[in-house]
Amino acid sequence: MTQATAASSEQSPMNTAKADSLPMQAPTAKTATELPKEILVKWLYDMQLIREFENRTMQAYQQAKIGGFCHIYTGQEAVAVGTIGCVNHDDPVITAYRDHGHALARGMTPEACMAEMFGRTTGCAKGKGGSMHMFDRPNWLMGGHGIVSAQTPMGAGFAFAAKYELEVMGTGKKKVCLCYLGDGALDQGCFHEAQNLASLWDLPVIYILENNGYSMGTAIERHTANFENLVDRAKGYGIRGIEIDGLDIMNVYDKFKPLADECRETSRPAFVDLKTYRYQGHSMSDPQKYRTKEEVDQYKDKDSIAKLCADLMDMGHIDETGWKAMRKEIADIVRASVESADAAPIPDADELFTDVYANPEKNLSPTATYTHGTKNPLM
């Protein structure tokens, strides 16, 4: 009897060959001001890309080119770009349904993201996931997840898997998982279970609370107890927690980078209460009766993109002309992504029955015959 061709102990179980061509390492600088110009300018680029992408997304939604629930990320750009900017490319990232920003910050192309919402074969999930379920395996984006807080035990799971690979299989390397959640997810039982497990088992996962003050139409003071001291909760689980002003990306980096390095090094979880704000309604179908226009304007006055842009101008990293050119370039790229999504093929009817089972034996269904789907465009 021959042995099973078990995973060779030299290689990590998850094969992401395509990612090799991408920059792999997080910057080493301790503070944002020490970062090379290229990185700082890239942040601005990425944040503006998300902003522009979301504006176009709303337009396409209003034209009924995008269906379902669609949650816009504008206002929160500094969170995804700043925190993802602190980690390595192969550190797993998982988030909820407000996921376009994370997808783009992780390196998903605007085409793949837009086409997914258009329900086209060139979308990151070939049109099977939609706005709330963005996955990008080569970029270690382990999903947008539609069920509030379902991603939090999974975040612990990716940290667990990284640790297991290192300690049991002798492969892999020290990683840290970034697990994003909205303030509404604070109230779910599974987040408490996840924190308990992460702390109990020394799992390197950082729970990044994107605290935009609202869970749909319910303000945080109406949905979670002791909302002004959320790090205390984490402390209850023996998890280190910090608060970060999430409207200033330089500040996000300065506070988050040492935390991410420490979690990776010590294999411990952390919790970050990142104060941010969403400019748009909860989803595309939200009349926003629960907040005032003045409140929204107050935050828009502290816009994170404007702030970074001003900082970079002060530092001499970019000037008006450069900023204008950047915006033009981004606008063109995003417009092209809409055009390419619009022109992309809709899935064949056959695709309905593909990618259901990895080993589609017969008789799995009384009515369906399953097969493997066309190759995913990202793989």
Binding site: M1, T2, A4, T5, A6, A7, S8, S12, P13, M14, N15, I94, G123, C124, A125, K126, K128, G129, H133, F135, R137, M142, G143, H145, A150, P153, M154, G155, G157, F158, F160, A161, E165, E167, V168, M169, C190, E193, A194, N196, L197, L200, T354, D355, V356, Y357, A358, N359, E361, K362, N363, L364, S365, P366, H372, G373, K375, N376, L378, M379
Partner: protein, 356 residues
Amino acid sequence: MTMIETDIHPAIDNPALPMFLPEDQMPSRQGDRIIQFREALREAMSEEMRKDKRVFLLGEEVAQYNGAYKVSQGMLDEFGPKRIIDTPISENGFAGMAIAAAMTGLRPIVEFMSWSFSFVAADPILNNAPKMLYMSGGQFGCPIVFRGNDGAGGQLASTHSWCVEALYANVPGLKMAIPSNPYDAKGLLKTAINDPDPVFFMESERMLGDKAHVPEEEYYIPFGRARLAREGDAVTLVSFGRPVHFCLEAAETLAAEGIEVDVLDMRTIRPLDIESIIERVKVTNKVLVVDQSWPFASIASEVVTQICERCFDWLDSAPARLNTADVPTPYAKGLEYDYLPNPERIVGAVRKLINA
């Protein structure tokens, strides 16, 4: 046993499926290596864990306590605490965690002390595991096994006596195995661990002490192949898991009256070996499905429907089903017995079918 790379989805890294032997080359079910059902399960897990470091077991009391039902006895000693992992009572948390680990290519085995406790983990096990491949457009698979006790019989009353198969088998993307004896339990669990899809594996606390010969040689049992446990000509009894024994007992009683029935042990529910059912229906022309879940939208309902769709003309009378009584599971011993599709009820149902 050769492991082969068959037509497995590219989302699965390093897939290895056992090459299944033809039925007549499988090691014998007869012999004197008599072990318990729980030991057969343990052997299956241990053998696969020895071969493949991606495989690990987690659940409540699986390590230091040696398993709430002693299925994992001794495994901590052999594999250590990094691979035999005691969890807190946190099904939602650890099931979700294990699913994420499976997405990255590890092969977790999650033990639910009882499937009755899986409901607090319903979201991850139903929303994430079986849909991951589809929702990610074929980027991430989820090769994971969930296993544990299922069904009534130990006077545990309604919260602890769940039969979850009808609820869960409804979901596309998962597979479901429900063995009735140690030989099948071992062979099916070994297959489940190697299968690249999420497998829901149902055991029964009532059967863990059952003893039978389990061969020394390694073997794997393919999914979707029923076993004809007894051959007759009057009626085909279709069942799976513990009620197979009720059927065999009823068959003995009926044989004393000169009525010979088939007992077909499905072994897996999804996939369902409908061809074997049809083959036997063509012989007996009468069929009774015996199922220990509730009747409404049950596995029996599904099997009966498929029979009607596929071999209606071969039936001499309406296909029948026998389920647990359509009530919450009672505690009192006698009531619990009456609630189950017990041998007496089966005998009654067969007589009714024959006289129909």
